[in-house]
Symmetry: none
Subunit: 205 residues, 4 copies
């Protein structure tokens, strides 16, 4: 169901045990994304992973632990996707260019590419405070760096509250899960429009 994830693939030999574990997580991610955590049963996950419900407990201690891990992977995947994309830009790319790339990658990963990423966004409320905070910290760190860079280079105005800007932009991005329809345009086009808004606003210029 997911495109193969180079990002998480480990090199060399993979033990069967690891493969099954992965299969379970994939199944859970897909179902958590589609139905939410509470509405997904262990039996559904097992069935999707082509094993029996009891077997899950050989790999995970509880359904909660599966959720934790799915969400953890979700945030990491978004993070690494975005980082990879930004790092692939030429060293002299502008701050705005970097942010544009980050936005495009974020949207693409969350909306099209990855169950973990969207499961993360849809179910973040069901995990413990700590997991949620860890999640948030990771997100914050990365975007803040991007924003500060752009501010230093003058591409973001000196008066701008970066914290609010970040929350504003990320809110808009994450909320797309609620309305985005692939039929109405690629995520890249959407990303471009969002960036224009973000930098230039809607007002008359």
């Amino acid at each position: 169901m997911n495109a193969p994830m180079d990002i998480t693939a480990s090199p060399g030999q993979v033990r069967k045990s690891d493969r099954t574990r992965q299969t379970i997580l994939d199944a859970a991610a897909k179902l958590f994304r589609e139905q939410g955590y509470k509405a997904t049963t262990q039996r559904q996950i097992a069935s999707q992973a082509k094993i029996k419900a009891g077997s899950i407990y050989y790999y995970f201690e509880s359904k909660d632990q599966i959720l934790d891990e799915v969400l953890e992977r979700g945030i990491r995947i978004v993070h690494e996707s975005v980082e990879t994309a930004v790092n692939a830009l030429p060293a002299n790319a502008s701050g705005r260019r970097r942010i544009e790339s980050a936005v495009a990658t974020h949207l693409h990963t969350v909306l099209r590419y990855n169950d973990y990423a969207s499961a993360n966004i849809q179910n973040i409320r069901h995990v413990s405070r700590e997991a949620r905070d860890r999640n948030r910290a990771l997100r914050r760190a990365y975007w803040t760096a991007l924003f500060e860079q752009a501010k230093q280079s003058g591409e973001i105005g000196q008066h701008v509250d970066l914290s609010i800007a970040r929350l504003f932009l990320l809110g808009a991005l994450n909320w797309t899960l609620d309305w985005y329809d692939p039929k109405q345009g690629s995520t890249d086009i959407l990303a471009e429009k969002f960036c224009t808004f973000f930098f230039e606003g809607s007002g008359r210029r």
Copy 2:
């Protein structure tokens, strides 16, 4: 738990039956907001409403029906609050002033004032397609009107895609439920910052 709601209060005599019904809805709204629909049990709702679980069924046919009504009220309350606030402005208020007022009221209603409003935002995925669509149509209609007005008066640039603008702004607003902390500033201040972003963007001017 909720501030009294002038919007829904009926004048004069209130039958006991109506009061209990209201109490159940209030309890459900609070719990749906805090825990989500699936995680909330009828016994929790009953306990919060200080009645017994079986009594709920004297007023509602099912848990689903309670959700429907809570969400319906949620959207209505946001809608009416915003409309009331905007209509209270002087007739010659600018388009931007109107949007600022709408944003401030939306944030205040969702974040501080009303369980129904936030329950609506958090649980919209659990209802039927029709209810969701009705919900969306109402929201869209109102904000679109505001935006078009501002575009006509030139306060929003002619090049702006209002549909995307609306989704962008509302996404950012609704996502605040995930991070807003009352200790860090009033919703009015937040609204002002959001509007500045929305109209002027983050870029250097």
Copy 3:
């Protein structure tokens, strides 16, 4: 739903209270017949009787008591119908003629005419041993008398075990509730066939 029951009607003034009581019993009889005792709720009975569920308890102590009374009336109605029909025969009517009349009346009452009568047969298992025994005693007394008469007059053979004969005939009669279809012939024709069997058997003569 029932034809008016001269049999149970009391003469002169009827108090409203009595009328309501009767309405409840009628409703219960109809529903017990159609759905059985367990499947019928007090609210259904109330609704059918055009009152509210709580009001039933002004007239009856419990659902069980309603059943008792419905069944009690059921047996009495069959009994009285049959007795009336038989007594209406000329004094010199033969034993067989009397039994034929009883059978026809029994079938008609149970199958076409009366909810109490059929409710009795369908739900007899749900009442207390005592009520069941009372029921049975009444039935036995009457039919036994008819049979003995026919035996004395030689219309039933001397060798016949009247007890078994009665159970045999009544079993066949009561079981008709399981298969009788009004479209396939009147109860009178059915009664005639049954009597022929009963007296003459199926064997070659």
Copy 4:
């Protein structure tokens, strides 16, 4: 509670799972027979089967499904018992002898031997039209064959309506559940008396 059922027993190894499933059905059959379907709870069935209520759902999808299977077995058991008994007769046995054997076996199976058989008779009204019709068709087919044979050999009179005869006899047989008391004589004696009635009638000869 039931005598061992050669009819359904499978030879050799029996898996534990099959044994539990069987135990549940046995428990349900017994309780359905004694109390009826509606009055029997899943917890009663579980308790009788010495398992916990939840476990039932490892084997059956619903209470209804249990009923279906119990009734299905009931009709099959009666059918097969009767068929076996009749087939065991000498090839040249008379039509009457065959019917006598069928009646005796039917009564014995329903009254003494088997909860499934009696549960079937007592609860047939609670299943779907289709199941009921299937049931009836099976019953009809078998008895009709027996009767036609006897008619052809002249043991049943040419004038006899076989359909009515069958309903008459089976009604009487099934109704025995309501009054048969083992203390008052064996089912075989009862069967003999019933057959005498059926063939010779009660009238003087």
